[in-house]
Subunit: 371 residues, 4 copies
């Protein structure tokens, strides 16, 4: 297997070499194998679009990567994704990608509750936006001909999200903001990409298949039938670093989660706990408990109890694989500034569309019609 | 409270005075009270359409009723609905409706497993289609000016379903077939209504909110995201007479249940048990267990476990309240023969439409456009 | 109904007039009614011991009560239990008990997160142990001939737990400490009761029927069969004041919860979240999700998923009804200092006994043999 | 790995080479490996007794085997266990055991619902107890020096259960009856073993860890606390041959299942469906849904919902591994006729003891004290 696709692929840089990166990198390599190609051909295995904007799943190349953790810096990306504290399963085994992980500056600090999970060398714990770091990072992105830079940082990394947006714009790369920190919703950031003539996508990835989707789907089904929702809740548990982080920095996430249920009219009766607890034994899995209580004809009760279990990082990779192809195509087509892609984000640029309209938007974009 | 709506309402006859009849009759009376009207005004409480074809929920009058059970025959309908072996909760208490339950002939026999539940006098256990019965029943329907006759018989009552279809056609009443026995799908029956110039609706009620709906909704959500469904099952348990009957006569129901999931492409991986067991302690409640296992990005597992609990008969009444109003309007408009209303039936006349298209069909009909 | 039992009953004072008090007071009055007596006679309805140490359930009288909330102070106890923010269901309706709720000093402050739930007058928010308060409280307990003072304060009320221990000892009343704050495990407090010649019971009530019990029961069942527990967790959710308090002050509770599972040998694989989130819509109900994963013969997997739903305060009252009778008897028998009653406490005086041994201890005490 | 334990082991013959045989044979071989021995040493992995009556788990040898299926007859046992329609997972891979599967006579017929699962040659479908078969089978058991013959036949195989009992007695082997067909509870069969001077164990294996155990454990926990059980049910689903068989021949099993809950006093409120449905996709897994509803203090509700998933055949093997060692020791000690071992059977010889007493009985037997 080669890390190159012979020049046809989208060149992707990764900010944050955690579980999401592991899922994405292993997946792309897997889907290039014969077994993976067969899965792709079957139209399943978590792929919405086997081919999107002319790119097959395997036609994604990794060009650069950044992290703050000493155990990942200077390793090959194909090795770094298996370093501590990553917990995504080892599917393909270590690979040589030719991409060496670069040091990222620690801009938001490392909170105490992550101290046992993240290893940062003493000299690099400061929070200042070092001018040398900025130029160095631009140089890495530009020299590797990176076309799309993906922000995989943990929730709450506000300064770093902004820093790498400026790096991308300066280096002429598209930027995909997977975090809840505002980027398409920050005017200065959006203007930066407009001026640089490259596309900006965000904010906050909607999971490929997660508890927000299942919860909203069930609530909508009740409402469509005229049933009253008397009480409903959604409680999420996980065991990876991101989850521990979320538990301590729930702010932006709680808002995003609620906005993901905003299409439901009885939102008042609905309570959501994005991160109810860190359960180390769950590893990279996420468990969601959903309860819905309602009344129907003649006030008779209806109750639904759900347990949902998913692999957290596969849920991100299954969405990002589409986004890097869309962003690559957008850049190629010369689109500048925010690109409205409602389907993949909890808080998208432009209007939040209904599921059907959002999907139609993607299909139009796929055909080359970005109106 | 009056049983009459002052002449504006649809006059409805009921074949089978079981739990479904109890839910329907109590509900109509409840929604005529101040508390009920307030619930209707709120747009919830299990009502899809507070007003449909110009009829409010309370604008439904009961005109006649038939049953085989000695404990119901000759009682007022408002009392008979609380007789043994009915198990629907008592919400409104006994009422005087002015409708006396007529004796229905026992056409399909009473199976041994229902012997302890149904009380039929010795002289009436025969299966022959007595000519006297036929004329007598027509006379009841006609003389009460019944506009819509609703078939609430248990699954597998093939002869009786046919018998009352012929009664309705002869008496000039529309017929709503809630059972899986073919009526709109039986050419002779359909022709009868075409010739009589009255409408026929069927076959097999789709529950207002039940396990088929929840199961299909979840499977579709996975498929829309490109996840593979590796195994899924749905198992239903209940405690009313209908459920005991189903357990012993699963044939037509199993086929209907599967057709209700027919829009899902991976139907091969899906197993459905419509009636896994009769649990007396559940009463008129129904419990459905649904399990969905799939794989997403990079073959990572997704699992969903659901427990759904609903009041079985409210689930029927919430649908029939719409059907009697649609059938009343269809008859008034002079429609003859099968009326295609995909939304409310598992096995409708005409094509089985997608949920969105089926809903649009109802809304067109509501506006008076039955194209 | 009379609030008095004619002098035969145990005279009980309550510190904290919240949901637990509501459950206890309503329950005692209910079990004195004919319907309640019938339930008692059936040996069920949550009563371990219809008669204990010679006292029937109804032979408990309320003599005094203390709270910090303006909406309860100076009300009759039978009215105060229905004041905001209490959420326990109204079963018996308001009663006249003759007991007026006295003001308790605010010793531990009112944390910000409870500000919208607890109403304390401006002049009473200080934290000092006012000498006048102390004398006044002793006077209330002594003058009402209170025999047993029950500490129903929220977790983390360390100063108040200590304050009322000293009040009880000074007034010659037994003290039942339902909170995790050390009392029997505090030498100064224990000595106080030894010197005063009255009994002290604690610490931290074990719920009558809760997730700790169910979880421990399942884990023990696996271990008894030689199965390996690979991962297990327990997550609790609730909607009352105590739960909100717990979420913010989890410290002592988390330790207690773990100690309640201490009899299980594979405790390393077990994770417990005592308060995963405050879900207002649950009211006084508590929901526990328990997951157990293990391996059996030839490494084959076993999995158990549990959802448990209970009324939180009934769970306390069902235990306290026994404790006040035991404490009353202990005082009557002249026992001084810590009384070891392992069965009812998470962290009891003396050794934590196995369930069987702990039960035997109670039965011996009931017979008058407190060895 | 050797199939022999150098003469120290118990020599075991198997009647029925289905999933249970596969679990037992693979398990014994696995626990002889280094990895298996380590698991044994850990005291876990589904082993109640690493050593019992002086025999380690690996000190069990297979000496003979019988089946009716053409696809298994004449194969080595280590290969036959992987033949269709067996569905137990392949853990150790095919082995050479030196034991060739002998043809068993078809005595109870092959019911229509198993026709697609069991392959019997046309000439062998008769039901007569052929004299030649009898002598041939005795010869197989005797010549292989089989010490213990285990009856793994499906529920309802009444004639075959009796046939192999007579074979065992005639050949001087102990007999372990895992089925609900009466053997220790049949006087003629019991007398046979008394006369032959060899031990007889049965009837009907209690699963190592299954829904009966979990259900009884939860019900007992409620009752011990004085809670009233208002309604409870247990529903079981599976996907192997035995389960399909059970669904059609529920008789004896339903009785056994109920007797397994007989220690619970509120058995009236409890409903059990041993085989609610055959779900092919579950394979050799079994799913049990348990619901418990009760009321506690002041009539407040308690509800417990459980989903239990286990490997069906491992559940049998984990018990049989103890029984063959006990039976081997009993034979060695010269015990004749029924041996009362309440712990392992739903319907044991002698009295059904409480769990604690039953366990004590095994421990006494282990020490050589079979009083």
């Amino acid at each position: 297997l080669s890390t190159s696709t012979g020049g046809r692929g989208v060149r992707v840089g990764l900010v944050g070499v955690g579980n999401n990166a592991s899922a994405l990198v292993q997946g792309v390599f897997h889907y290039r194998t014969a077994a993976g190609a067969a899965a792709v051909a079957s139209g399943r295995h978590g792929l919405r679009f086997p081919v999107l904007c002319g790119y097959a799943v395997g036609e994604v190349e990794f060009s650069c990567a950044f992290d703050v953790d000493e155990r990942k810096i200077d390793l090959d990306l194909g090795e770094a994704i298996f370093s501590e504290p990553n917990r995504y399963p080892v599917v393909t085994g270590p690979m040589e990608t030719g991409v060496v992980v670069s040091r990222a500056p620690v801009l938001d600090g490392v909170p105490a509750f992550l101290d046992d999970l993240v290893l940062v060398a003493a000299g690099h714990r400061g929070r200042d936006r070092n001018g040398d770091d900025f130029d160095r990072c631009i140089e890495v992105v530009a020299s590797t001909e990176t076309e799309v830079l993906v922000n995989f940082l943990p929730s709450g990394s506000n300064d770093a999200t902004d820093f790498f947006a400026r790096v991308a714009a300066a280096a002429g790369a598209a930027y995909v903001n997977c975090t809840p920190t505002p980027a398409v919703h920050s005017d200065p950031v959006a203007d930066l990409f407009l001026d640089a003539g490259v596309p900006l996508l965000g904010d906050d990835l909607e999971s490929h298949f997660g508890s927000s989707l299942v919860h909203r789907t069930l609530l909508e089904a009740l409402e469509q039938r005229g049933l009253e929702i008397t009480h409903s809740y959604q409680v999420n548990l996980g065991g990876n670093t991101d989850f521990k982080n979320l538990f301590h920095r729930p702010g932006a996430k709680r808002a995003s989660k609620r906005s993901a249920l905003s299409t439901v009219s009885s939102a008042d009766a609905v309570e959501v706990i994005p991160s109810a607890g860190y359960l180390s034994g769950l590893g990279d899995n996420k468990v969601g408990y959903i309860s819905v209580e309602g009344v129907g004809w003649l006030g008779m009760p209806v109750s639904i109890d759900v347990k949902l279990k998913v692999q957290d990082s596969s849920n991100a990779a299954g969405v990002v694989i589409d986004l890097v192809r869309l962003a690559g195509a957008a850049r190629e087509r010369g689109l500048a500034g925010c690109v409205p892609l409602s389907y993949y984000f909890k808080n998208p640029a432009g209007e939040k569309l209904s599921t059907a309209d959002a999907l139609a938007q993607i299909e139009r974009f796929d055909r080359g019609d970005e109106s």
